[in-house]
Symmetry: C2
Subunit: 242 residues, 2 copies
DNA sequence: GAGGAGCGTTGATGTGGATCAAGCCAGAGG
DNA sequence: CCTCTGGCTTGATCCACATCAACGCTCCTC
């Protein structure tokens, strides 16, 4: 098997590319550059011109915005199957966020110019890209809603529910995908307050042992998280949909 | 001139459709249904299945999310040249937000199914849609960043700067596009606190007379709003880029 | 097994914004 | 002209979260 074949397998497994004709996948495989980085590596910096779409095969990448005073906000944590810099590539405008590996990561880079050309020639790819950004947009909308109308414990409850596989019987076991400092940043608070939020949820049947979390009463938790979870099957946590 | 010709003129003026071949514009004009509504009209409700892309010709539409307790958050206020429900149409998933006219509005509706078909056949349209959602995504990213790392007066300062035409000499006059209650909701605070935020900016050369606002020292304001405005030429306020 | 480093929790205190409520002002209607 | 109404501002108080700091724990090294 050639290297390109191997890349083709990785690409076919990306949720955003599911269902694309083999010709397109092959063309993408020919463009893709594999990349392996250690934790802490900066993959792109806010303000720079967009060069390549990044697809995450394994590991975690956090997307953050920096303030003038040096403080940073984690806008999203990308998980395997996810992508980043898609919007910048499509609009051709500078990155709004800095991408930094939060753990050792394997990725594929698809150069912007070639991707553009290919998408122009292949409507199916263009639509796949459109659907993908649309998914990213929806995740951001959910986050804005979260920030504007939920308290921190509610946001945490909501986040935990997203991690739980749907349709499991009551004592649901969940594993936090990354350490609490990063989770705090993603939820928009300090580690100290995340700790307090976990403590507050204890009364609602949430038990924590390090990264292991057990939800004894998801229904009650859902009720506590308030805003109609009806529309949220959509979950940010679903790989490839964030 | 037929009605379709008139619609064609409106469509050609939409920023998101700029540069599309006339054939595509004509096809869109044939699909488009004009719509005129009074203030307060609900155009779609969160949770419903996506039916049509909405383009706003004039007036204002607020996109809001409702909490279980009845409180609502305004996620975005769409201004003329903007669109909404694009992401839901592309993903085929339920609306995440309720759209309600904040002022009398004229719109065009493009039915989802037909739009899909057309975009599949016309790569240029598919890419235009992708670019448009990408722009919407970026606006949401900026808002998340805002909420996570700016204080209310800073968010207000940033918002005012976006309203100001770039490259104007110091005493910049700005008109608030909608009343202060709605502005407060969009910024994620209560009217009472918006008032205090305006009061705080008075010391930075911001003078208010109802909806008229004068920025005496934009540079200082920009400095106060902190996070590097470098990447923000992108402005949420730019019509069609929201 | 002793020491140290890093994450996580807990406590004490400060602050931004919410909340509740009273006043202000302009425009509409009598 | 007076009154009523609704949007805006201001004041007093409260609460969620930030901040600063101490402490406990686990893992890692020596």
């Amino acid at each position: 098997m050639t290297e390109t074949d191997l890349i083709g397998i990785d690409l076919a497994a990306m949720p955003m590319l599911r269902g694309l004709p083999d010709v397109v996948l092959a063309a993408l495989a020919a463009l893709a550059e594999p990349l392996e980085v250690s934790a802490g590596t900066v993959l792109c910096r806010e303000g720079d011109a967009p060069e390549a779409l990044h697809l995450l095969l394994s590991g975690q990448v956090s997307l953050l915005a920096r303030a003038a005073d040096g403080s940073t906000a984690v806008v999203e944590v990308v998980r395997p199957g996810g992508r980043f810099i898609l919007a910048a590539v499509l609009t051709g405008r500078a990155y709004l966020m800095t991408a930094q590996a939060a753990a050792p990561a394997r990725l594929l880079r698809l150069p912007a110019a070639e991707l553009h050309t290919l998408a122009g020639a292949r409507p199916a790819l263009g639509m796949a890209l459109a659907r993908a950004v649309a998914g990213d947009f929806r995740a951001m909308v959910l986050q804005v809603r979260d920030l504007k109308l939920r308290s921190l414990p509610q946001r945490l409850a909501y986040y935990l529910l997203q991690l739980a596989p749907a349709e499991t019987m009551p004592p649901v076991a969940v594993r936090l995908p990354f350490d609490k400092a990063l989770l705090a940043a993603r939820l928009g608070c300090r580690p100290a307050n995340l700790s307090r939020a976990f403590a507050a949820l204890r009364a609602l049947g949430v038990e924590t042992h390090g990264a292991r979390v057990v939800l004894h009463d998801p229904a009650r938790l859902q009720d506590f998280a308030a805003p109609d979870l009806a529309t949220d099957a959509d979950a940010v946590g679903a790989p490839g949909d964030q």
